[in-house]
């Protein structure tokens, strides 16, 4: 199981600009739920609060109001029921690829032969068996992110959270990794919530796309493309794909509430 529910989640940051404290509402009354085994994309322009929402689900930030629950239980900080893949992998630079994955397992209390087997199994899952003894700076960006995914999956979370996981990769590597993520998800049946600003990525990977604007959920789109979608070429050629992508594009480019206000003032 891995059902995630956000109830009335708001987040207010106090930031200091030129000595003046300003209140910024990063999230306002966000509510949506993600079913077990579902792939959900959070999309929106930068500053819309999508990363903040993901960090709150992970437990790295506490919401100002509202709550997040996993399988009906309200979360309290980070937990092994959720695993996160950061935008820039964030591997510990003094550890090898293997040690980075082993570190996560060790934190969870896994030891000995089980630790070794599990770490190697997940490195194998992301296709990294040959480079396990390399340190992060001896790995390419795509390989680093693979280690990041293996580290997040190794603790066997119910929910995999990904913060623009392929955003820093080149176009070809990104497509390859998207295909691999689809395969991994098909095999492990994990619930996946990922943040992206890439329309194609959202439509290609997700079952539903949550569109966010100014800290609010503005629309939730169902992506009723057939699965498995591992044949990316076939999916991209579908008329339904182009249609969904266009609808998403329109949703993102509709004039927002705040711009309308500005225009009426002018």
């Amino acid at each position: 199981m891995g059902e995630v529910t956000l109830t009335n989640v708001s987040k207010r940051f106090n930031i200091r600009i030129d000595g003046q404290v300003q209140k910024v509402n990063a999230l306002s009354h966000v509510a949506f739920s993600v079913a077990d085994g579902e792939l959900v994309a959070l999309i929106g322009p930068s500053g819309c609060g999508k990363t903040t929402a993901l960090r709150i689900i992970m437990g790295l930030e506490t919401p100002t109001t509202g709550q997040v629950s996993v399988d009906g239980v309200a979360i309290n900080g980070c937990g092994y029921d959720r695993g996160i893949v950061f935008q820039h992998a964030e591997l510990l630079p003094w550890l090898t690829a293997y040690e980075n994955v082993a570190f996560a397992l060790e934190m969870k209390g896994v030891r000995g032969a089980v630790l070794k087997d599990t770490a190697m199994r997940y490195l194998d899952l992301v296709g990294l068996t040959k480079s396990v003894n390399r340190r992060p700076y001896q790995l390419s960006g795509g390989m680093q992110q693979r280690v990041g995914i293996a580290r997040a999956l190794a603790i066997d979370p119910k929910v995999l959270l990904m913060d623009e996981p392929f955003g820093a990769l080149d176009a070809q590597t990104r497509e390859q990794m998207q295909g691999e993520l689809l395969e991994i998800q098909a095999r492990t049946k994990k619930t996946v919530i990922f943040v992206t600003h890439d329309l194609d990525e959202a439509v290609l990977l997700a079952d539903r796309v949550v569109v966010m604007r100014d800290g609010r959920v503005s629309e939730i789109l169902n992506v009723d493309l057939p699965r498995p979608r591992t044949d990316i070429e076939a999916i991209r050629g579908m008329a339904a794909y182009a249609d969904l992508r266009f609808r998403l594009w329109k949703s993102l480019h509709a004039p927002s509430v705040s711009t309308q206000k500005l225009e009426s003032v002018n």
């Binding site: 992970m58 437990g59 790295l60 900080g77 980070c78 937990g79 092994y80 695993g83 996160i84 950061f86 820039h88 964030e90 510990l92 630079p93 003094w94 570190f103 996560a104 934190m107 969870k108 340190r135 992060p136 700076y137 001896q138 603790i155």
Partner: protein, 279 residues
């Protein structure tokens, strides 16, 4: 004919992928350093010979004085007397300075309570406290260790402290996301990430520890290399006075390179990040 021979030569040096390693033509760095030192010594020799030997000395005269001190064994026993408090004082400074810096950088309350003493201690003219320290601890071994410790602990501590503050929040979050307790985050994430700063602090502290050692030997029981400096200066034997100074400089350079060597063994990733690993 010669073209064929050249081809064969290239083929023989190519590896299995067909790559030919370019021939190394750069002069090794230590050779450059040796040339630089040699030129400096020659210039010193030429300039030093033109000056009254009471006011200055020059390498060949210092070498003769060195041989004299080494032959009688006075130099070695003095070096041993100096190094004992040095090693102990400097060692304690590392063992206390680094953990203290980690705590100061990691815990805001600890920093607010005790940070000010570390900042003050670093800036304080510790030489002025030497008479007081001799009143408390006497003239012997203990006071020398204390002076060396006090002079070297603060650079190590402050550097570690700054290093902890520079650890990216994102690396700490890796630990937090894995529900690691604070103590584990400190030991397994903050400490390794701070290691280059700790080593830099240890290198800075060597210079201060050497100064502290000589101050201790001047102002407490006159002994060790400091005693040779004072006695020969009083006898206007400038060449002999330079011998312990040269010995100390050589020891400090050796210790600094040794720490650098240990750092490369313990923290090879740092050289990779900075791109210094092009071997």
């Amino acid at each position: 004919m010669s073209a064929i021979i050249d081809q064969a030569a290239i083929k023989s040096s190519a590896d299995e992928d067909g790559f030919v390693e370019p021939a190394e033509r750069k002069i090794p760095k230590f050779v450059l350093t040796l040339i630089s030192v040699f030129v400096a010594l020659v210039l010193w020799e030429i300039a030093g010979r033109r000056v009254n030997p009471i006011f200055a000395s020059y390498p060949s005269a210092i070498a003769v004085a060195f041989w004299e001190l080494a032959r009688t064994g006075a130099l070695w026993s003095a070096t041993y007397d100096s190094l004992r408090p040095f090693v102990l004082g400097y060692g304690i400074a590392i063992l206390i300075g680094a953990p203290l810096g980690l705590l100061l950088g990691r815990y805001a309350v600890f920093e607010a309570l005790f940070g000010i003493y570390v900042t003050a201690g670093f800036a304080m003219p510790l030489v002025a406290l030497v008479p007081l320290l001799t009143l408390w601890l006497g003239l012997g071994f203990a006071v020398k260790v204390t002076i060396i410790f006090l002079m070297s602990v603060f650079p190590i501590c402050i550097n570690t402290w700054l290093g902890v503050r520079a650890v990216p929040k994102s690396l700490i979050e890796v630990g937090r996301a894995l529900v690691a307790p604070n103590s584990v985050i400190l030991r397994r994430i903050v400490f390794p990430a701070t290691l280059p700063y700790i080593v830099a602090g240890m290198k800075l502290a060597i210079g201060r520890a050497v100064v502290a050692m000589i101050i201790a030997e001047f102002f407490t029981a006159i002994s060790g290399l400091g005693a040779i400096i004072i006695n020969s200066a009083n006898n206007f034997d400038t060449a002999t006075m330079f011998v312990p100074i040269v010995v100390l400089v050589v020891l400090a350079i050796g210790l600094t390179s040794f720490i650098g060597f240990v750092e490369r063994k313990l923290a090879p990733w740092q050289a990779e990040i900075a791109g210094r690993n092009e071997a």
